[in-house]
Amino acid sequence: MHFVGRNPPHRGDPLNQLVHSEYPKALRAGDLERVVACFAPPLRDWARRDTEALLAGFARVDRSRCVIHNADPPAKGGSVLTRCELRLDGVDKDGVARTWQQERQITAAPVADGWRITAVEAGPATEERPGVRFVEEAAARGLVATNHSRKTLNRAGEMQINLGTSGVAVGDVDGDGDDDVLLVSGDRLRLFRNDGGKFVDVTDASGIVTPPKGECRCAYFGDLDNDGDQDLFVGMLATDNLLFRNLGGGKFQLVPQSESGLRSSGHTSSACFADFDRDGDLDLVIVNGNNMYLVVPDPPQDATNAHPNQFFRNDGTGHFRDATAEVGLGDTRWGLACAVSDIDRDGDLDLFIANDVGADVFYRNRGDGTFENATAAAGFRFHGSSMSAEFADLNGDGWPDLYVSGMASNSRWMLNMPGFPLPAPAVLTFLFRNRVVARVWEMFHGNRLYLNRRDGTFEEVSIPTRTYWLGWAWASICLDYDNDTNTDIYTANGMWTGENPKDC
């Protein structure tokens, strides 16, 4: 990502162009002379040998990147030391896939006609070869649908695709023992019955209807009336949320809001069912945000002007009562996701809410289904761009750890350069750096892994575990995909994925 066009190009920009863009692009092209030209003359013999050795392992390079994790302020002469991760994905001479990765400290310096690499220090290289494989089979299995946004008005008065939608829910709606699938496109809900690994679209017969207005965002199955089948909650944008009661066998009936008691905010991000008061039925937490295309987050670095989160208490029959205030929820941060776990094993469920443009909040259950804000006490730091949260045991000690998605930007290092973003009086720069830049720095950190210390607190280890720099991340889920007993992580990325000429 690059920073605003209103400012003149920052003097750090050529560094991105050289290290993050030109160097890996030349490697991918297999163009030895172009790679060598990235280096200053004294280094060119080394660069030639290094590049030949790298490329010898590949018959074809499909993808290459050199991510700049950090950069030191310029030394004398303007040279900048950067800590990078160089990575090549491709196939070897036998056609077998191969990922090669190495941490490198790359120093670059300005010369008359641009920038050149003047020093390289390489860390140990790692290589990943094929193990368990995935093959895309949506069409062959009948899970055919395309996600579309109904669009929303933005501040410029244009119709704009809603960028934070396209959810999915998995549950056994017909009670036959396998999981069926609800696909949540902005303009349409579709239910697919699972027949032994093949899918049949049963939306029309199911009674699940898409409202004519608003945008569908998220969905969750749960047995809300304890009658043995999976009911359905759908979170909506720009219209009321939906509750469908399963009448049995996967036949659903829309429950009017007057009957369900689920008052809607008009901008729901996500939700979860859980029995927070341990009375034997599922309560509902609804996480709400706000429309970023129309409303400016305020204050911008820690916004609290979204719709309040909601807590609905179930009376045991699937009828809900708004109990937000009495349980101590209802903050107005820009919520995007929530995760539930008994993090301290005291027998009740605690709640983590991941917020965009502001701080995450961890709510500890007092034991009676009411919550206290224990964010700082539990060791959660300001994150600022959280998109997704999930508890799972990621270090194998049996206790729930937490993985939170966020944005990573390759231009983040520019924030640490003196004078960013513009020369200004020292006192203003000081205030700006401490109040704003430090927070923006955290916002573009990427994902975070928090390990449970088993005493009700967490320790962030995303940098030593190298689990942070994945992209503009949305959903992250934890699963053991290769059945080796260790918990793996899958992260969905992308924000207008595509070529970006300014930033590889």
Binding site: V132, V135, V184, V340, A492
Partner: protein
């Protein structure tokens, strides 16, 4: 966000194959971004990961948002459903994990809520204890399966399985056979 250039402005629709497919062209915000699959290498002293996205075929480049894990065939490995903005749904079918065993557990509460959401399941194989909590939500805008999946590595039997129910109390099974779907009633 205010300091980002051109958020959601100059979208073009050029790809003719699929109506509504977003052709991003030269206005991507963060470059070409693929999904990432971090394979855990183990636990000690802290978990280590390596990106197996490319070599496993899970590194889709599709502006992905919601993701759900699901064993569509009941064959003991987890498949992935990946939803993207203005994109067709992606179903990544796991081609199998040779040499490994598994166990899938579905709980039914009686005193507790019927789905047993909030229950903790502990599976012991030798010295190793695998723990899952039953939850309704996954990651971002996605609903999770109530079927708890345990990869068991090379273990050919589960020494013990304990369920801690949401309203208190627990139930323990010993010497549980592997490679099966099990329903446990409170």
């Amino acid at each position: 966000m205010e300091f980002v250039e051109g958020v959601g402005r100059r979208t073009t629709f050029e790809d003719s194959d699929i109506v509504g497919w977003v052709k991003v062209g030269n206005n991507s915000l963060n470059g070409n971004e693929n999904n990432v699959l971090l394979r855990s290498l183990g636990r000690s002293p802290m978990p280590a990961f390596v990106d197996a996205g490319y070599v496993s075929g899970a590194d889709r480049i599709e502006d992905s948002r919601g993701v759900a894990a699901i064993d569509i065939e009941g064959d003991g490995d987890l498949d992935l459903i990946v939803q993207g903005v203005e994109r067709p749904t992606v179903l990544l079918v796991n081609q199998g994990c040779p040499g490994t065993h598994w166990l899938q557990v579905r709980l039914r509460g009686t005193r507790s809520n019927r789905d047993a959401i909030g229950a903790r399941i502990e599976v012991r194989i030798g010295e190793r204890m695998l723990v899952r909590e039953v939850t309704s939500t996954a990651g971002f805008i996605s609903g999770r399966s109530l079927m708890s999946h345990f990869g068991l590595g090379g273990a050919t039997k589960v020494d013990s399985l304990t369920v801690h129910w949401p309203r208190g109390g627990s139930k323990t099974l010993t010497d549980v056979a592997v490679d099966q779907r099990l329903t446990i009633v409170e």
